[in-house]
Symmetry: none
Subunit: 301 residues, 2 copies
């Protein structure tokens, strides 16, 4: 069953989480092309954000991506965009993740090729980030995005924030975009039995790396207005070192300070099998368990 | 747009556990075919029996199975066969287990199709058993096989033991075969911080079905002499209805009566991905999680 064909995963984030019709127009280019498999897309009205996950042949995936970006640029005006999630562009971030017959260097090369094309074709300034970053201070997406769409009008002219590709000025409606290569990311959110987002935010600050918390954890507090609860929203950037269960239990521990409890959790988008097997093995206390024992894993060999 | 490729597991048992050359001839058809993955095979000289475990595309698996049966019929003469394990045929039993994108009805249909083909192609009488059985008294393999190869010469003519497919008389050298569908079995053991096997046994009696416990749980107490602890050893015969975590937590609850705690657990052999995902989802309290979110699951499509 092994083939020599390369498979890349791409998880573009678009700043549209509310208008169903626009969401469909942005997602559609990933549905029809040979060699591209749309795995998942999910929009969040509070975040006002759309996350699309596709895998496939690198060339086919990037062709679909350009079509989706064309839609996003036409449909999204950041001047009118509001949502809880920070954003700097209509197409906010485009990560490439090597999945099969590709190493990180190839994923980085692909991200640079795509970044150059986005700059040229759509007139959007592009920042290379994560493993593709051209300087250490540009690796972290939050740092690149700091100031968001509004602040980027000025920031982009600072010497250390000149874009890697595209025009020198922010696109008037589509802003800027970050493009880069990275390892698989697990988007993991923990819901609390409080409506006080300040508590979720305080917990987030303790569990995340920059606050003295877990090395591969980014986190922030989010208000789920429709459910009247607060959420600790996390990105686990290397689940093999910062496990889901560890982040989960650390949120529980921090929440105790406020007399708050966990009422649920969610995984947004795709998750590697090992991340869940690891959680099951932890909670059940499995001794000597190997992923080789999972039937479907053996099928992939 | 997802192509829902089916995966079935098949665990045929052959009555040859001693002659290495013959064993290889029987196993070989499972090695070479596209869409078939040989997971394991083990022969036991005392039992004089070979157990083969394969998964894959249902059509490809059954084609390999027919080739293996052809070898077994040529190589094995039950008139000369001796071993500790009860047996009624050269191919003794062929269970089909639905793994992915197949429900039990489909596995039953597959087993009947294969049973009919075995009867026709090889002239071997076929008994449908387990979920495929055509009457309640034919569900249990031990009951079907009672009398073994020797007794089957007469038994097969009794009105309640007429074969479901194939000729009315026992095959002169290959005997008869049981074919059927069943759920995957999860062998799950929970270790306790006591050396008293009587406590493990008392707990086992409460959690297992016949003691008033979980519907798809068989259990017994076992002494792990090398570690000086006792274990509740379970077989979960339908993990989709009697989940691993439920059995685990019920053992914990029963153990409290004795002031005993769980110190570890183990899964013996293979386990379907869904059984572990279910445990992770329970302990993390995942809301709206779908197995479609598991990357490797989607890559099998």
């Amino acid at each position: 069953m092994a083939t020599q064909s390369k498979i890349v995963q791409c998880v573009p984030n678009f700043s549209e989480g509310r208008n169903k019709e626009n969401i469909e127009k942005i997602v559609n280019p990933f549905r029809t092309r040979q060699g591209v498999k749309l795995l998942n897309y999910s929009n969040d009205e509070d975040h006002n954000r759309l996350v699309v996950t596709v895998i496939g042949d690198p060339e086919a995936v990037t062709e679909s991506l350009y079509e989706a970006i064309e839609q996003a640029v036409q449909l999204i005006d950041l001047n009118k965009h509001q949502g809880q999630h920070p954003r700097m562009g209509a197409v906010d971030v485009v990560p490439f993740i090597p999945i099969r017959n590709m190493d990180m260097d190839e994923a980085i090369a692909l991200s640079k090729e795509v970044g150059a094309e986005i700059g040229k074709r759509f007139g959007i300034p592009v920042f290379l980030y994560e493993k593709s970053a051209t300087a250490p201070h540009r690796e972290n997406l939050a740092k690149v995005r700091k100031g968001e769409f509004e602040g980027m009008a000025e920031k982009i002219h600072e010497p250390e924030w000149l874009p890697d590709f595209g025009p020198a000025d922010r696109h008037a409606t589509a802003g800027t975009v970050a493009v880069g290569a990275r390892m698989p990311l697990v988007a993991y959110n923990v819901n609390l039995n409080t409506s006080d987002v300040a508590i979720a935010d305080a917990i987030a600050k303790k569990v995340r790396h920059i606050g003295g918390g877990l090395r591969f954890c980014k986190a922030m507090g989010v208000e789920l207005t429709d459910r009247n609860i607060a959420q600790v929203s996390m990105n686990l950037t290397d689940y093999s070192k910062t496990a889901i269960y560890r982040a989960h239990e650390l949120v529980r521990i921090e929440a105790r300070r406020y007399g708050v409890e966990i009422v649920g959790a969610e995984i947004i988008g795709l998750v590697p099998m090992m991340a869940l097997v690891d959680a099951a093995a932890y909670y059940l206390g499995l001794e000597d368990f190997s992923i080789e024992q999972v039937l479907e894993y053996r099928m992939l060999e």
